[in-house]
Structure formats: structure tokens, C-alpha cells
């Protein structure tokens, strides 16, 4: 973890095991509070980040013991940016992003991008070196309200 010119950043390198999501959640919650994000905004960023990490573990790395998920958290004044990188084979995110209607309500799958998009101010994907990088951006809301509920 480091701090330079009011920029806080942290890197987490976790195994492909859902039990480590708690550590990621705790880290982002602590940092977001330190940078005066409102309780709603803290919940929003942690919800989106946990979702991104879940997807990386399950769909990217397929729970493989030899694959890791690298999470970078960066706070810069009013902006939080997180990246989640897996070691999977990449993902056709353009196709997924084109579908704005969301899954059938009775479908058991297909809500990951919907959740990440709803709880962040910007969401981006790129395939790099055989893995997927998800970038989540959340602006500090100064207590005026969170993201997910109003979208």
C-alpha cells in the first residue's frame, strides 16, 4: 500500500477462492471510508468490486489453484478506480455489454455486468495477456446518495 500526493493505492493478489472476497471487501470499505465516501457510496464500490472479483475467480480462473486474481485499488481525491485482473482466457465483453436488457428474471445467470454497471460511474473491460481486466470507477458523492438505487 502506498500514498503519494493524496493518492492512496493498494494491490491485493488473491488465490482463486471465494473465501478471499471478505478480505477484498474489508480493504475497499476501509479505504473508501478513509477518503470520506458516504456509506451508500462505500456499499456501492464494495458491491461492484466483490462482484468483479467473484467473476474473476469463478468465470475467469475457474477456481484454479494455480491462478491468481490481482486487485488494484486507487483513490485520488474524489475518484476511486479499481482494476481486477484474472488469468483466464479473456472474455467477449463487447457482446455482453451490448445486451442492455439484462437476463430473463427467472434466469439464474447473467447479472454480473448489470450489478457492476449499476454500482459504479464507469465500467470498462480489456483483454490483456490472456486475462481479463475489469476497471471500475466510482466518484465520491459527498453524501448525496448512492448509485445503484437511483439508476
Amino acid at each position: 500500500m502506498g500514498k503519494r500526493n493524496n493518492v492512496e493505492h493498494m494491490i491485493l493478489n488473491i488465490p482463486s477462492d471465494l473465501k478471499y472476497l471478505g478480505a477484498v471487501d474489508a480493504a475497499i470499505q476501509d479505504l473508501a471510508r478513509e477518503f470520506s465516501f458516504s456509506p451508500d457510496a462505500v456499499n456501492d464500490v464494495s458491491t461492484a468490486l466483490v462482484e468483479a472479483c467473484s467473476n474473476a475467480i469463478e468465470h475467469g480462473n475457474h477456481f484454479a489453484k494455480d491462478k491468481r486474481v490481482v486487485v488494484t485499488l486507487r483513490f485520488n481525491g474524489n475518484t476511486f478506480v479499481a482494476t481486477v485482473k484474472d488469468e483466464g482466457g479473456g472474455f467477449d465483453y463487447e457482446k455482453a455489454l451490448r445486451d442492455e436488457s439484462g437476463p430473463d428474471p427467472m434466469s439464474e445467470r447473467g447479472r454480473g455486468i448489470l450489478i457492476m454497471r449499476a454500482f459504479t460511474d464507469a465500467l470498462a473491460f480489456r483483454n490483456e495477456n490472456g486475462g481479463l481486466i475489469v476497471e471500475l470507477t466510482k466518484l465520491r458523492d459527498d453524501g448525496d446518495g448512492g448509485g445503484g438505487r437511483d439508476k
Partner: protein, 116 residues
């Protein structure tokens, strides 16, 4: 994820404790629901009070078991969802699928009202 069961009136209440994120949770849930349906207990309340968070796979688990209960002629509702989980249900429109209650009495009563 720990699940404990109890009964109130005509409803079976499942008190969840932990994080609903998938993995072995899916099997645990399925087994619990199957056991309830085998005993003809088809009115099920899922208590989310002690569920710290849920991801999309966890939502899938709830939906899977909801579908199972409905096919068996029963119903499943949730109660005491945190604001964080309510937000997730809202943005995924699952608030239109699962009835969500703030009180146990209302959750249990909802089954008798549904049969009128």
C-alpha cells in the same frame, strides 16, 4: 454460509448466516430446500438479516431454489434484507420476483394471504 431452520405457523424459516456467493453454498441450499419439499413444507421464508453480502452467483442460487419451490406448488419470500442487498435486488429487478419483508410476521402471513 450457515443455515438454520425453524418453523413459524405454516412457514419454514431459513436463517442464513454469512456470505451468499456460490461455490459449496449452492449444494447446501439445494439440499435444504429438497429436504423441506420432501416434508411437504412449501412455504419458505429466507431470512437475510445475517447475510453480509451476495453476488450474482448467490442470486442465482436464490432463483434456482425459488423456481424449485414454485414448481412444487409453494412459494418463497425473503426478509430482513440489508440496504445493500435490497439495492442489489432492485437493480437486478429481482425485487419483482421475490417478495421482501421487513417483519417476520408479515413474511409468514403473506402465505395465507396468497391462498385467499
Amino acid at each position: 454460509m450457515k443455515i438454520t431452520q425453524r418453523e413459524v405457523g405454516s412457514a419454514a424459516i431459513l436463517d442464513l448466516n454469512g456470505k451468499l456467493t456460490g461455490g459449496p453454498d449452492a449444494d447446501t441450499f439445494r439440499d435444504v430446500f429438497k429436504s423441506l419439499l420432501d416434508q411437504d413444507k412449501k412455504n419458505i421464508v429466507v431470512n437475510l438479516e445475517k447475510v453480509s453480502w451476495i453476488n450474482s452467483t448467490g442470486l442465482g442460487i436464490l432463483i434456482n431454489n425459488y423456481n424449485t419451490v414454485r414448481k412444487a406448488g409453494g412459494d418463497m419470500v425473503v426478509m430482513h434484507a440489508s440496504e445493500r442487498i435490497e439495492s442489489i435486488l432492485y437493480v437486478t429487478k429481482l425485487n419483482l420476483l421475490f417478495k421482501s419483508f421487513d417483519s417476520e410476521d408479515d413474511a409468514v402471513r403473506s402465505f395465507s394471504q396468497a391462498t385467499r
